[in-house]
Symmetry: none
Subunit: 403 residues, 2 copies
Amino acid sequence: MEDTYGNLIASLAKKNDQRIVLLVMDGVGDCDNDGKGTALQQAKTPNLDRLAETSALGLSMPVDVGITPGSGPGHLGLFGYDPLIYKVGRGVLSALGIEFKITDRDVAARLNFCTIDADGNVTDRRAGRIGDDENKRVLEKIRAGLKPPAGVEVLFETVAEHRALMVIRGDDLDDDIGETDPQATGVPPLRADRPPHTGKTAVIVAEIIDQVRAILEGEKKANMILARGFAKFPSWPTFAERFQLNPAAVAGYPMYRGVARLVGMPVVSQPTTAADICTETVKALADHTFVFSHFKYTDKTGEDGDLAGKIQRIEEMDAALPALLDAKPDVLLITGDHSTPPSLKAHSWHPVPVLMAAPHLRGGDGAPFDEVHCRSGQIGTIFAKQLIPLAMAHAEKLEKFGA
Amino acid sequence: MEDTYGNLIASLAKKNDQRIVLLVMDGVGDCDNDGKGTALQQAKTPNLDRLAETSALGLSMPVDVGITPGSGPGHLGLFGYDPLIYKVGRGVLSALGIEFKITDRDVAARLNFCTIDADGNVTDRRAGRIGDDENKRVLEKIRAGLKPPAGVEVLFETVAEHRALMVIRGDDLDDDIGETDPQATGVPPLRADRPPHTGKTAVIVAEIIDQVRAILEGEKKANMILARGFAKFPSWPTFAERFQLNPAAVAGYPMYRGVARLVGMPVVSQPTTAADICTETVKALADHTFVFSHFKYTDKTGEDGDLAGKIQRIEEMDAALPALLDAKPDVLLITGDHSTPPSLKAHSWHPVPVLMAAPHLRGGDGAPFDEVHCRSGQIGTIFAKQLIPLAMAHAEKLEKFGA
């Protein structure tokens, strides 16, 4: 699929000194809660609402109608990379999520410990959901016993419970490797080097897994591994190249520092509270024309089904906002990477409220910042990947198309 | 053209027990009638309006801006098959329209009887619009006289007036056959086997048409046939495969049973009145996770230019609706496959009102169900092919995209 829109924007991007801030309130969107409205509707947000009065409002579609994005696709969209074109494998996302420093010589895979019986058939695809400590103990045993195949390093890291990360590091590796999880019990794991996956790297991975099986023999629960989502660190145009912006990320959680790194965006600060995020963003504006600032707790409370907590976190960001507004960024985008309704305790497909404070608007939309008022705002409902280009337009960072 | 969205939805679809109903009021959309509003605006629809208050509203674009769909593309869109990708030939649609049981060994074509002169030039492309009885008489003469080429059966069915269906049945047939209608008078019909259409099936069809010409020699009006829209029954992913739903169609008219069959949707009942459609839909919900229910008369009255009739048919469906609502489907979509304004006496390009009663909404849209209020509803204006994915999202039948 060709990146028509992204390439067009890249061809028109130009530098100037105007500053753009993208403040992501992770998972901020919601649906109604028992007739009492969304978290944004229920929260007392005088600063956001005052800003919304004079701003452009709209809704951001992370991927497409009905599609619920994970954090990777959700942020890539906001960064202006179409998540249906710029796909990132689970192995790489696992590495980003634990802040493993993945390099371009690496192939990463997500591992599950599993249990196999005497015949080699999988009896439990999650090894009885062993705890983190058991995971670490078994990984240490693998590290001690494994003889890396010639020319590669093999690295393992605990993720959580039965989940781990495996990274093969070496020259000229590829990610054409068979997933070994049979997605069923009563059958043996698949081989990584089964046809059509018969290249050098697949053979290396199959050999590693054979060794791991021998090393884990005798373990009661975690006596085998299943590997999937083999992926190389993608070589995409960096955010700086693509948009002619000098970007900085202000993000306290590993996954979001990781997705920033995917597009070559340096992380300049790692705050987690709303107040710290706003003050660190102001600092970053001193020498960056673009700052991505990430606030995690609106998503976390949504995932926990904690409506009151989500409302409180929104109010915290509202209270912190004046410090950022005082710095007068030329364009300020406030939105989320997806919705996380507490009633679903999960990410959702609902389009996400967007507020853009910027010059050259068609007046302010004169409404508070919430899902319902954003629907009729001047931005309309657009794709997340279109937000940075829109902000760039308002910051006069896009040349005219054609003469 | 790659079916990016459809393939993505198919890759995320998962089964659960929630029930989705798609109630199609064929051609329900309208434009204004002499300043008095659309049929939906003029109809008294207390049940629809009460439901709309607590539902999501929007508009469905059948194909794209300005495009008027036929019944085939209109329904394929609603079934989640992009009508610009999943194209169905006129021959197959003709077969579906008269409920001819087309098989995957068939090539179907739409026939027009025409009149040719002594030199073999077409003088009337519609044979003076002969009536159905004359059509049947002449077809019987062809059936009696034709000697099928080796290895094939040749089947004919009257459609109406000068229109008929021809089906060639045999092994390894293809539909690379030249259309024989010259689209003009004063010139001879084209040959089905003219280059580049020189394959086995084209040669067979040309031979059949030569025989028909000889058989019809001496007829005054219908002394030749013109064939177009040669098409095989398409082999598409079935609705059940694509969406992991267990579908049923409740449809009283042949064309709609036919398009259901195109996507492998079994027809479980054939009611035609609003009341019967609602009660049969409830029955079908007992053992299906998806029910498509089709109400024809809102389109028929539109095609007849009968505004009062269209209003009355809408009111009939409104009155019947409580029986369906009592069954509490998890998600209920009410819309049309296109608009059929009585003032146009034809299908039109206007986007079609949609109502979705579902969990996880952003509140109800608090407005009556009509073209104007639907415009500002929370669904927005989306493509028809996105409605089933959206309903699936609300029924929690779609996995998250990416991690």
